[in-house]
Symmetry: C2
Subunit: 228 residues, 2 copies
């Protein structure tokens, strides 16, 4: 039994948006797939704890922005590692509201789809929502970001609420390298983590969300270098 | 509304195998995805008309072989465009039988998973089967074949029973080029197709399954050249 086999399953990277009346929320997702072609039904898998789940239940609508390969990690972090319960994710990004009232994120998006929920299936921690396509547009041509690219090339990580999160994701064969903040000299020790800011012990520096900042001076991750 | 937006959804390429007692069958699929991580549940979407659907219903087991990028088109054609009702797909390929009795295809496979069905959802033409992982092995390292690679680089096509089949798939901007069999001189005219052998009118030569052979002499597609 080698559960790393699961890492060979292919996914894309998407932003799922929905609304509750005039309130908007959005989150990163990697499980989007077409189920039937007549009618065209797509499925998404959403963690019941996610704020977006509540919005989809309310409006019965969701949109899917298909992210391009060069989407910056901090843009993904904004939608993947922060909750809409404490932050309006639609501030400072390009988006639009479709005729149904459902929002759609346009930044770094090659194409988008909107769907009306026609069925849902309970899968313990997650719900599979089935949606019939109501709108679909291609914004520009380009390469899509795959989940493999996000992990292997961009060094991205997976939120604990994702279907594909693996418990050992933060423990690889990589040594527990310390990193030092070039601005203030703070040393990040992966054995300790940064528990005050939600980073548990045994978290590699590479696995800290890009939204994390130096707990001392507030510098972002790009300001850190390997500690010799 | 531009349904080509759907083509930007990322998938992999897989062979789903199952058994009915000691009988085996297998088919190509592109919709495999993890749904939850505790327990690890994966989902597949299978057309109800497919022979494999009947086998999964019977044994409540299925295996997934994750195909590598260099899988030959004719190998995919064997599992994607032929039915197990008329052909034993396990002849002349490397495979093994797991302790449950479920077969798994090993040729061109980077890794495999086996699952026991724990739930299923009816989606009109298709069934989503949810399976709890019972076995998983990595056979070798390498690049997985994505659905995009299969279509864009390998020039592969989609069976009509696939969730992602699009009606206009056979009508592109490419001209209706005729092809001639170098062995017997038969000319394939895309405006006519080869209806006796299941190739409808308006099917480009490039879109004919690689399992198709010259209706006159039985030569395979590689024996055809463009007709000036």
């Amino acid at each position: 039994m080698d559960l790393n086999a699961l890492r060979n399953i292919s996914y894309g990277m998407y932003i799922i948006s929905s609304n509750k009346g005039s309130q908007f929320n959005a989150q990163i997702a990697n499980t989007v797939f077409q189920i039937t072609n007549e009618p065209i039904i797509i499925a998404i898998s959403i963690n019941k704890k996610n704020f977006t789940h509540e919005y989809i239940e309310s409006s019965q609508r969701f949109s899917i922005s298909i992210l391009e390969e060069n989407t910056p990690l901090d843009f993904i972090g904004k939608f993947g590692f922060k909750s809409g319960r404490t932050e309006n994710k639609f501030i400072n990004i390009k988006s639009k509201v479709l005729s149904s009232g459902c929002p759609v994120v346009l930044d770094f998006s090659l194409a988008y789809l909107e769907a009306k929920v026609v069925n849902k299936f309970d899968c313990s921690s997650h719900t599979i929502f089935l949606g019939e396509i109501t709108e679909s547009e291609i914004s520009k041509s380009g390469k899509v970001m795959t989940y493999a690219y996000y992990h292997q090339i961009k060094g991205g990580t997976t939120p604990k609420t994702a279907p594909t999160f693996m418990k050992n994701e933060t423990k690889g064969s990589v040594s527990m390298q310390k990193y030092k903040c070039k601005i203030c000299g703070y040393i990040y020790d992966p054995k300790i983590g940064d528990p005050d800011n939600g980073i548990k012990a045994d978290t590699l520096f590479e696995d800290i969300p890009n939204t994390w900042v130096c707990p001392v001076c507030g510098a972002d991750k790009s300001q850190f270098e390997k500690e010799e």
